[in-house]
Amino acid sequence: MRASGIVKRFGSREALRSVSLETEAGERVAIIGPNGAGKTTLLSILAGISRADEGEVDSPNGEVGWVPQQAALYRRLTVEENLLLFARLEGHKDPRASAEEMLELTGLGERRGEIVARLSGGNQQRINIAIGLLSRPAVLLLDEPSVGLDPRQRSRLWEFVSSLADRGATVIFSTHDIQEAERYGGRLLVLADGEALFDGPPEELREAVRREAPEAADRDFETAFVAYLHHRGH
């Protein structure tokens, strides 16, 4: 997937200022930054939901899976009905088999008949992700996928996402959690006020933080990162 010079404006405010990103197959890219940095806007443009005011996006045609921040599913349908519906809408030859596969993948097979509204936020998020995976996308975009999940669920989620990347899928996710980004992202894209401040592996970000905010270098990475943003004017 390749995005170059992406600009997005909401009225007079620039939500993204010439952001570029190019990914390889199997890469795991974490987009990090404070609230309002433009993470969701960038992901929605990559997903083809929003249109950029300037710049271009090249993506594998029809092979971009998208998992929005808020679960995009029908809470009055059961787990299985949701998966079946989206498998049918995607034109799967055997929608039942696809739904079964996702039920197994998410570990929700035993709760297939339950109305989604009665499930915990974590389980709803698992179905949300499973729906995004139904199309077996070459690129998977996840917008803050671990929000609302407990540590065990987070662990399962990242294990699952990592396995997809290991099988060649490109995974691009946004998160507020620096530790999570460092741990599961092979590459970090730092956004602040719509501007890309950094793009590279976690080690290089640590180095940049040490270099630009030496007073915070001995403290934990999150504190150091905040100091780094401050030094960069954000």
């Binding site: 929605s44 083809g48 929005p68 995009a72 029908y74 009055r76 009905e81 809408l89």
Partner: protein, 452 residues
């Protein structure tokens, strides 16, 4: 179309899982049907009026010394209102004060004497007494209208009776006959016979007397002719102005058919607009809209699916309601094809309007409130007849209601139910235009407002 089918199935599943919505969709129209059905089949209730007749039994109105037959005032009044017979004034007052009766009508003991005095040199003013409880303006207006109508009818009945008696006396003067008075029977010669007798006598008289007699014969003939003319005039005096109703336009179906059409259109409008607007807003409330429109289904397909859902449910519910109405008013089943056409096209236009609403709002609750706020005033304004408001206001209402599908839907369903009145073609065309316009607005609104 592939995606539309599965989305339609999904919406029906969701509907099935929402018992309150499902119950409302079924119970609401049935309730409307039953209420309208009862109202139509029973007609308006007669108001309850306490009735006190103090006129002594056997007292009759007298014209020219002749007593008229009994007018049966009690029977005439109690045909038009539900009479509660009371024995005295206090009881009448109590009935009105307690709200048991809308009003009390008291015929005083001297009423007939006062009426009889009208033909004397010292005429009185006959009065009836009415007790009312004007606890609210609507009730007061209703009582005033009823009493005015009753009095007009009573005056008309008496005037007709007097006119009829007057005509009989004139007939006696013109044509002669038997006249009963003071316990005896008198023979009246009459102008016609008098003239005939004088005519027969005329040739036998000396020539110098004949001109005078000829003048008398001529007078008798002129008087007869003029009195002949006077008789119909006396008849007309009772009701000088007759009503000749000529329908020059706006031929309308029977009231009960129109009432059924109103109930059916109300039901269709509420079910379709609320369902389409609500289900479209639900796609956004559940955040599913962007996921769906990322290649799974087009915006037009999504709008079309919601309209189809509205039409399908609206058709079933409205047909159920019309079939329910059959228990109260027989409808022409031979026009079933037209029913279907009217409901389908009206459902499509109403659905498109609902989609435009649903596309503009993000929450189901907000859009439901919006739908109620729109449907109720539009429906109310659509029922305002010409002449009820000033021409300028009516024109404004006409143009405003033409922008919404309720009025043409009502016209189409009315035309489908009954052949009287304007045809179904024009309202169907109007609905088709509104469907296209609202579907386009819905598409635009979804693109404009439905962002992540």
């Amino acid at each position: 179309m592939h995606g539309v089918r599965w989305l339609l199935l999904k919406d029906l599943q969701i509907l099935r899982r929402s018992p309150l919505q499902a119950v409302l969709l079924v119970v609401y129209p049935i309730l409307i049907a039953v209420l309208v059905g009862f109202a139509i089949s029973r007609g308006p209730e007669d108001p309850r009026v306490a009735f006190l007749n103090e006129v002594p039994a056997g007292t009759r109105i007298t014209v020219g010394g002749e007593k008229l037959p009994q007018a049966n005032v009690k029977g005439r009044i109690c045909q038009r209102v539900e009479c509660i017979f009371v024995s005295d004034r206090k009881e009448a007052e109590d009935k009105v004060k307690s709200g048991d009766a809308l009003a009390a009508l008291i015929l005083p003991a001297n009423l007939v004497n006062k009426i009889n005095s009208l033909s004397t040199l010292t005429p009185g003013v006959p009065e009836v007494e009415v007790l009312v409880n004007e606890e609210n303006a609507v009730k007061a207006e209703l009582v005033d209208d009823r009493i005015t109508t009753l009095l007009a009818q009573a005056n008309l009945a008496i005037a007709r009776r007097i006119g009829s008696e007057g005509g009989r006396y004139l007939d006696l003067i013109v044509n002669g006959g038997e006249f009963k008075a003071l316990g005896g029977t008198f023979h009246i010669l009459g102008l016609r016979t008098s003239a005939q007798i004088l005519g027969a006598v005329l040739p036998t008289l000396p020539k110098d007397l004949r001109p005078s007699l000829e003048q008398v014969i001529k007078f008798a003939s002129q008087a007869r002719d003029n009195l002949d003319v006077a008789k119909p005039l006396i008849d007309r005096l009772a009701q000088p102005i007759a009503v000749d109703k000529v329908v020059v336009g706006g031929e309308s179906p029977p009231l009960e058919i129109f009432a059924i059409a109103v109930a059916a259109t109300f039901t269709l409008a509420f079910v379709v607009v609320l369902l389409v607007a609500g289900s479209l807003a639900l796609e956004r409330e559940e955040n599913a809209f962007p996921r769906l429109t990322r290649g799974l289904v087009s915006t037009s397909g999504l709008v079309g699916e919601k309209i189809l859902l509205g039409i399908a449910i609206g058709l079933v519910v409205t047909l159920l309601m019309l079939i329910g109405m059959q228990f109260f008013v027989p409808l022409e089943m031979g026009r079933f094809g037209l029913w279907l056409a009217a409901i389908l096209v009206a459902g499509a236009a109403l659905g498109a309007a609902g989609a435009a609403l649903g596309a503009a709002a993000r929450e189901v609750r907000a859009v439901s409130l919006l739908a109620f706020m729109l449907i109720l005033p539009v429906a109310f304004l659509s029922l305002v007849p010409s002449g009820a408001v000033s021409p300028a206001v009516f024109d404004a209402i006409r143009y405003f209601t033409a922008l919404f599908p309720f009025k043409p839907a009502l016209q189409a369903i009315t035309a489908a139910l009954d052949e009287t009145g304007p045809g179904i073609g024009a309202p169907l065309l109007h609905l088709a235009v509104l469907f296209l316009a609202y579907a386009a607005i819905a598409r635009l609104a979804l693109r404009r407002f439905a962002t992540v």
